[in-house]
Symmetry: C2
Subunit: 224 residues, 2 copies
């Protein structure tokens, strides 16, 4: 018999998905993809029916989403999809810009050459999508790029927080790319990021990423 893996099994095994996890993921997607619009009341009875689960896992899932800030639970009065005010969005983008600035600096210090290479490939993919006008794939690659930078910064807490804020902003950011000239300037900023990455110039990368996010605010603020 072969020698078994040096890692204990549980770290390798695919994590079992409990029902409430699945439900949380499902509702999260519904919110992020806009099928449950901000401000919408979350009707337990119908949603539970549509998902084919009982209220128990459903309500547990709601608590998770509430802690993530996607949903507001008003005691005895039902839950609603959190509606972001302009101020909410600004505060998130301001914070995110500082977080990604930090991530940009750290990634240049800490990531391996291969990882940087991977980021640059991602960037090339984005460019291709841009040139071909494929908005949705571009958008997804863009999310992936920002997530990956945070991940490769080598600070798990930073990664978590970035992921959470990015999730909350997903819909908003999509709007920001909806006008062509906005898209063009976003792409130009990403070019600068790539250049800084190639030089592993953390300060430059951080600066561009921060700027990128404050520009996102400018692109987005009038839609709120």
């Amino acid at each position: 018999m072969e020698l078994s893996s040096p890692f204990p099994l549980e770290t390798v095994a695919i994590e079992k998905q409990t029902l409430h996890d699945q439900v949380a993921n499902r509702i999260r997607d519904l919110i992020i993809e806009g099928h449950l619009a901000p401000g919408t009341r979350i009707d337990e009875t119908t949603l539970v029916e549509q998902l084919g689960v009982s209220r128990t896992p459903f309500r547990e899932a709601l608590r998770t989403l509430a802690a993530e800030g996607l949903v507001i639970i008003r005691p005895s009065k039902g839950s609603v999809v959190r509606k972001l005010t302009a101020q909410d969005v600004f505060s998130m983008l301001e914070l995110l810009s500082h977080l990604e600035k930090l991530a940009g600096q750290l990634v240049c210090e800490r990531a391996s050459d291969a990882d940087i290479e991977g980021l640059l490939e991602l960037h090339e993919d984005m460019l291709k999508r841009y040139r071909e006008g494929d908005r949705l794939p571009y958008y997804k690659l863009n999310q992936e790029f920002h997530s990956r930078v945070s991940e490769l910064a080598g600070n798990e807490s930073l990664r978590e927080v970035q992921a959470n804020i990015q999730a909350r902003l997903k819909r908003i950011r999509f709007l920001g790319n909806s006008k062509p000239d906005y898209w063009a300037s976003a792409v130009a900023e990403h070019e600068q990021m790539a250049a800084a990455l190639r030089k592993r110039d953390g300060d430059a990368l951080g600066r561009v990423m921060a700027q990128h996010l404050m520009n996102t605010w400018d692109r987005v603020k009038d839609n709120l």
Copy 2:
């Protein structure tokens, strides 16, 4: 009949605490105050009995705490109080140092004179506690000081994230003040913060606060 208050009632009314909220708060305190030690398995049956609630609100509370990062839920295998590795703590302190740096900068730009004054009073209280050797009150005022700075930075997202990380680190940080010389240097750093606050020198304040947290790491790392 009198004219009613100009504010709608719900904004004034005390928020109704549902059972799962109370339970979440209760368990959170138990964890933070060390009555539920890191790594401890959370036994639903006994805990539910002690709290005198049924499993439903208890489990909902657990999901909240899990999302906050205080508890780990292992599907079908029970929950445990999250145990922080040295790396976890480092990543939190590194992130927190950047967050509070930002908070320090912003508070100098955005807070009112009265608010700054309030912070300085808090600082004086801390000094008094230090001189009298009252460790626990000092500790609480210290937490309050850092929270207040984040609050007065005028960015709600920043405040939330700071509060979350501070909560996770509460126990750890207490350790950091346990040795007298550590305490002394922490107080010295706070003196610098106060000086910067008086001058509304955001850069200086940010620098000291960031440094303060990286020093916390040095004070704490050997106890992990």
